[in-house]
C-alpha cells in the first residue's frame, strides 16, 4: 500500500521514530512551560535558551580538557552530564527567578513575556559570541552506540534509550503533580494562589522551586537532545515557538494535555515529513489553528472562565500629551525639518516603525490584547508590496494598498482565531500563527527564501513623483505616516473607541450592556493589522527589499518593546518608542554580534525600570505637578 503512494516503508518508520522522539522532547519542554505558566503565570519564552544551556552543559563537560587546558580536568561523559547538568540548569533557573522573574509576578503578562524574551536574547547572544553560531557535535555515549534490527527497520540504541527515558520522565512528572501531596499543593496554587498563600504555604519558595524544576526539565531535555541534534546557541529558538503552540493544543491547566499534545504533534510532524515535506515546519501551527476553531479550550483543557484583558494604558484624559490636533501639527513641523537634520533614509526607518508601533498600540494599548505576532502583518504586506512593485510593476501607491489589503485579510483571519483565548494564550496563539507566515515565506517560490525580494523599484508616485529621490520618498512616507497616525488617533477617540475602552476595562459589563465584545476586538485587531501592513509596505518600498527579518518574531517583539518603552496606550508613546529603539539598533550595529545581547538587555531593563514608558512617566510627572499646583492654590 505504501509503495503505491510512492513511499518506502523504512522512510515512514524512520520518520515516525524521529517524530516520536521529537514529540517526547516537545512533551518534556511543554511540561515545563505548562507548569511554569500554570503556577507562575509566566510565559517562559526563555525556556528554549534553557534547553540550549542543557545541551551546552553536556558538551562543556565532555570538552573540559580543551576548554580549560592546564587545570588537569577530566572529560566527563554523557552519564555525568545526565546527572550534573539538569540540576545545574535548574540552579540557573532558580537564580533567574530570584533576580528577574519574581519581579514581574504581579504585573501584566506582557512584562513577563518581554522579560523572558530579553533574557533569551541575552543568553543566546552570549553563547553565540563565545561559541559562534556553528553547531558542535556531541557524540553518542559508547554504551549506546549501535542499534537493534527490529525487522521492519534498524533502530539506533540511543534513540531507544531516549524514548524510554523521556517517557519515564513524563510519567514521573505527571505522577508527582497529579498524585502526590506536593503536586496537590502545586495544583491548588495554580487554581488559586492567594488561597494557598493564606494557608501558610511558603509561596515564594514554592514558586522558585517550581520555576527551577521546569527549567531543570528543559536542561535535561537539552542533555538528551545533544547527541541527536547539533549543539548550537540558537537550537532553542525555533523549538520554543513550537512549544507554545503545543501548550495551546494541550489545553489550559492540563499536565496530561501537555504531554499528550507534545507526543501527538511530534508524530504528526514526522508523518508530514513523509507525505508532504514542505508542510512539516508549519503543520503543528496549522493543527493549533484548527483546534482553536473546533475546540478552543485545547484537546485536554478544562472549561475556563475568561480572564480580564490587559489594561496598561497610561494616558491621562485631557493631558496636553493627548491633544491630537496639537501633536499632529508639531509632528508635521518636526517631520518637515527632520530630513535636513538626520539622514533621510534613517528618518524614514523611524517613521515606518513608528507607524508599526502605533498600529500595535491600537490592539495592545487600547484593545487590551497581548498580540505577539504583528510581524506577520508587517512582513506579509512587505512581501506583497514588494512583489506588486517588482513583478506586477504596480506604482508604489497601489503596491502599498495591495500590501495593506493582504495584511487586513491575514489580520482578520488570525484575529478571528485568536480572540477565542485571552491573556498569555492570545500571545502564544498570535505568535504561532505568525510562524505559519514565516515558514511559508521560507518555502514559497515567489518570496525567494533567504534572499527575500530584492531591488524593489520605488517607482513614480501617481506616475509623477520619482521616489528614487530620497527627499521625495521621505515626504511621501511622512504624509502616509501622519495620515495613519491621525486616523488611528481618531479610531481611539471615536464612539467605537469608547466601547473598545469599555470592553478593555470590564468585558463582562460590556456584554451585559448588549455589546458583542469579540466583534469589537476583532475590528481593533484587523485595523491594527492593516496599519501594521501599511508600515511594512512602506518599509519595503523605502529599503527596496522584503526579507524574512520582516516576518521574524523578533519584529513582533520589537513592536511590543517600542510600545512599552514609549508608553502603552498613549498617543505619542509608540512614536517616541520607535525613535528610541530604531536609534538604539543603529548605535548597537557597530558592536557586531553584541547587538542581540544589548537589545535583549534593553528588553530586560525596560521591564525592570521603565514600565510606564517615557510618555507614561512624563504623564505621571505632569499629574503630580498639576496636583501640587492645585493644592497650592487651595492653601
Amino acid at each position: 500500500m505504501l509503495s503505491l503512494l510512492g513511499i518506502s516503508a523504512p522512510l515512514l518508520w524512520g520518520q515516525l521514530l524521529i517524530g516520536l522522539i521529537n514529540g517526547l522532547f516537545y512533551a518534556m519542554m511543554s511540561l515545563g512551560v505548562a507548569i511554569i505558566f500554570g503556577l507562575l503565570r509566566i510565559g517562559n519564552f526563555v525556556h528554549g535558551a534553557q534547553y540550549m544551556l542543557g545541551a551546552y552543559g553536556a558538551w562543556t563537560l565532555a570538552n573540559l580538557p580543551t576548554l580549560f587546558p592546564g587545570l588537569g580536568l577530566p572529560s566527563l561523559g554523557y552519564w555525568w552530564a545526565l546527572v550534573l547538568v539538569p540540576p545545574a540548569v535548574a540552579a540557573v533557573g532558580a537564580l533567574t527567578e530570584r533576580l528577574f522573574i519574581r519581579r514581574v509576578y504581579d504585573l501584566e503578562h506582557a512584562y513577563g513575556l518581554l522579560l523572558t524574551v530579553g533574557l533569551a536574547m541575552v543568553i543566546e547572544g552570549l553563547f553565540n559570541l563565545r561559541f559562534s553560531a556553528a553547531g558542535q557535535q556531541y557524540g553518542v555515549p559508547a554504551e549506546l552506540r549501535g542499534g537493534v534490527d527490529a525487522g521492519f527497520m534498524f533502530i539506533p540504541l540511543y534513540r531507544l534509550w531516549v524514548i524510554a527515558a523521556a517517557l519515564a520522565v513524563c510519567v514521573a512528572t505527571w505522577y508527582a503533580i497529579e498524585r502526590t501531596r506536593l503536586g496537590a499543593n502545586l495544583r491548588a496554587a495554580t487554581e488559586n494562589p492567594d488561597l494557598v498563600r493564606a494557608f501558610g504555604v511558603n509561596v515564594p519558595r514554592m514558586l522558585m522551586l517550581t520555576y527551577a524544576f521546569g527549567v531543570g526539565l528543559a536542561g535535561l531535555t537539552g542533555v538528551m537532545a545533544a547527541p541527536i541534534y547539533q549543539v548550537g546557541p540558537y537550537m532553542g529558538q525555533s523549538i520554543i515557538v513550537t512549544i507554545f503552540a503545543v501548550v495551546v493544543i494541550g489545553g489550559m491547566g492540563s499536565i496530561f494535555g501537555a504531554i499528550a499534545a507534545g507526543v501527538l504533534m511530534g508524530i504528526l510532524e514526522g508523518l508530514t515529513k513523509v507525505f508532504w515535506p514542505e508542510a512539516s515546519s508549519t503543520v503543528i501551527f496549522v493543527a493549533m489553528a484548527l483546534i482553536l476553531v473546533f475546540r478552543p479550550r485545547g484537546l485536554f483543557g478544562k472549561d475556563t472562565v475568561s480572564h480580564a484583558g490587559t489594561d496598561l494604558a497610561n494616558a491621562r484624559a485631557g493631558s496636553i500629551l493627548e491633544n491630537v490636533r496639537l501633536w499632529l501639527v508639531l509632528l508635521a513641523a518636526g517631520g518637515a525639518v527632520l530630513p535636513f537634520l538626520i539622514y533621510p533614509v534613517f528618518a524614514m526607518k523611524i517613521l515606518c516603525f513608528a507607524l508599526f508601533a502605533c498600529a500595535y498600540n491600537l490592539v495592545f494599548g487600547y484593545g487590551g490584547l497581548l498580540a505577539f505576532g504583528h510581524a506577520a502583518f508587517f512582513g506579509a504586506a512587505a512581501y506583497v508590496t514588494a512583489h506588486a512593485a517588482a513583478v506586477w510593476g504596480l506604482p508604489p501607491e497601489l503596491a502599498l494598498l495591495a500590501g495593506a489589503a493582504m495584511a487586513a485579510g491575514v489580520g482578520a483571519i488570525f484575529g478571528w482565531l485568536a480572540i477565542r483565548r485571552q491573556g498569555l494564550y492570545f500571545a502564544m496563539i498570535t505568535l504561532a500563527l505568525a510562524q505559519i507566515v514565516y515558514f511559508y515565506a521560507i518555502q514559497a517560490p515567489w518570496t525567494h527564501g533567504e534572499d527575500g525580494i530584492q531591488s524593489v523599484p520605488r517607482g513614480r508616485l501617481f506616475g509623477l513623483v520619482d521616489l528614487n529621490d530620497n527627499l521625495a520618498m521621505y515626504f511621501f512616507v511622512l504624509a502616509v505616516f501622519l495620515t495613519c497616525f491621525a486616523f488611528l488617533a481618531r479610531v481611539v477617540r471615536s464612539p467605537y473607541g469608547q466601547v473598545l475602552k469599555a470592553v478593555r476595562e470590564n468585558e463582562r459589563r460590556a456584554i451585559s450592556l448588549g455589546y458583542p465584545t469579540d466583534r469589537f476586538k476583532l475590528i481593533a485587531f484587523t485595523l491594527s493589522a492593516t496599519f501594521a501592513g501599511v508600515a511594512g509596505g512602506l518599509k519595503a518600498i523605502v529599503f527596496q527589499i522584503a526579507s524574512l527579518a520582516d516576518l521574524h518574531f523578533m519584529t513582533s517583539a520589537d513592536a511590543l518593546l517600542m510600545t512599552l518603552i514609549g508608553g502603552v496606550g498613549t498617543l505619542l508613546g509608540p512614536v517616541v518608542g520607535a525613535a528610541i529603539v530604531v536609534t538604539m539598533q543603529r548605535e548597537f550595529a557597530g558592536f557586531g554580534a553584541w547587538v542581540v545581547v544589548m537589545q535583549g538587555a534593553a528588553f530586560v531593563l525596560c521591564v525592570l525600570f521603565l514600565r510606564k514608558g517615557v510618555v507614561g512617566t512624563l504623564e505621571d510627572w505632569l499629574a503630580r505637578r498639576e496636583d501640587r499646583r492645585r493644592r497650592g492654590r487651595r492653601e
Partner: protein, 257 residues
C-alpha cells in the same frame, strides 16, 4: 405546571453542573410581568448561577429559558441583553477609568448604532449628554459627572451601575445583590430607586437583606442546594418551616454562589 400568560421570564427544569457538581437542579421559575420578584436562599444555593444562566453568561446543562414565551436558551450574553434583559453584578460593575458620565453614555450609545463607527468623532455622541444628565440626576450623581468612576465611594459606584443599567431602559432587570456592601442611607436610596423604576418593568433580584426583600418584593422564590425550596409572598415564606430550617440550621456552604 402551566405558566400563567403574563410570565415574562420562565425557566423549565433549568440545571447546571460544573464537572460533576450540581449547582442548579431542575429550577422552574416564573417571573410575572411588572412585578418585583426576589430570589433568596443561603450562600451556595445557586442564585447567582441562575442569574448567569438566564442572562447567557453560562450555558445550562439542561432545561430551557423562555422570554415572553420565546426560547432564549443558549443565546450569548450580549444577545440576551439586546432583547431587553439587563443584569447587574454582585461586585459593582463599572468602567473604572472612564468618567461617571462616560459610564452611562456607553449604555446609551448601544442602541444608536454609533458603536461601530470607528471613523467618526466622539462628538457624534454629544446628543446623548442630555439623557446622561437626566439619569445621573435620578441617582444623585450629577455633581460627580466628570469624575473618574474609580474614585467614587462604593455606594456611589452601585448607584452609577444602576444608572447605567437604567440607561438601556430594559424590560427586565436582574439585580444581583443590589444592597451588598451598602450603608443604611444608600440602602434606602437604592430601595426607593428600585421601587421607582419598577413601574412598567419586571425585576428579578437576588438579595440577602430580608428587610429590603419584604419591602420590595411581591413574590419570593427560595433556593436551597440548587433547587426551589418554596415560593410565595413574604408572609408565606417567612412562616415556612423548611425555609427557616434552610436559613438557620443549614450547613449549605458549598462554594459557587
Amino acid at each position: 405546571m402551566t405558566a400563567p400568560p403574563e410570565a415574562v421570564i420562565e425557566t423549565r427544569g433549568l440545571s447546571k453542573s460544573f464537572e460533576g457538581f450540581r449547582a442548579v437542579t431542575g429550577v422552574d421559575l416564573s417571573v410575572r410581568r411588572n412585578t418585583i420578584h426576589a430570589l433568596i436562599g443561603p450562600n451556595g444555593a445557586g442564585k447567582t448561577t441562575v442569574f448567569n444562566l438566564i442572562t447567557g453568561f453560562l450555558a445550562p446543562t439542561s432545561g430551557r429559558i423562555l422570554f415572553k414565551g420565546e426560547d432564549i436558551t443558549g443565546l450569548p450574553g450580549d444577545a440576551v441583553a439586546r432583547r431587553g434583559i439587563v443584569r447587574s453584578f454582585q461586585i459593582s460593575a463599572i468602567f473604572p477609568r472612564m468618567t461617571v458620565a462616560e459610564n452611562v453614555r456607553i449604555a446609551l450609545e448601544r442602541p444608536t448604532g454609533l458603536a461601530w463607527r470607528f471613523w467618526r468623532s466622539a462628538t457624534a455622541l454629544d446628543p446623548l449628554a442630555h439623557r446622561v444628565d437626566e439619569l445621573l440626576k435620578a441617582v444623585g450623581l450629577l455633581p460627580e459627572r466628570d469624575r473618574l468612576a474609580a474614585g467614587l465611594p462604593y455606594g456611589r459606584k452601585r448607584a452609577l451601575e444602576f444608572a447605567t443599567t437604567l440607561a438601556l431602559d430594559p424590560e427586565v432587570l436582574l439585580l444581583d445583590e443590589p444592597m451588598a456592601g451598602l450603608g443604611h442611607e444608600d440602602v434606602d436610596r437604592i430601595a426607593e430607586l428600585i421601587r421607582t423604576v419598577a413601574a412598567g418593568r419586571t425585576i428579578l433580584m437576588v438579595e440577602h437583606n430580608l428587610a429590603v426583600v419584604a419591602r420590595l418584593a411581591g413574590r419570593i422564590t427560595v433556593l436551597a442546594r440548587g433547587q426551589v425550596l418554596a415560593e410565595g409572598d413574604y408572609a408565606a415564606i417567612s412562616s415556612n418551616p423548611a425555609v427557616v430550617e434552610a436559613y438557620i440550621g443549614g450547613s449549605d456552604d458549598d462554594a459557587a454562589a
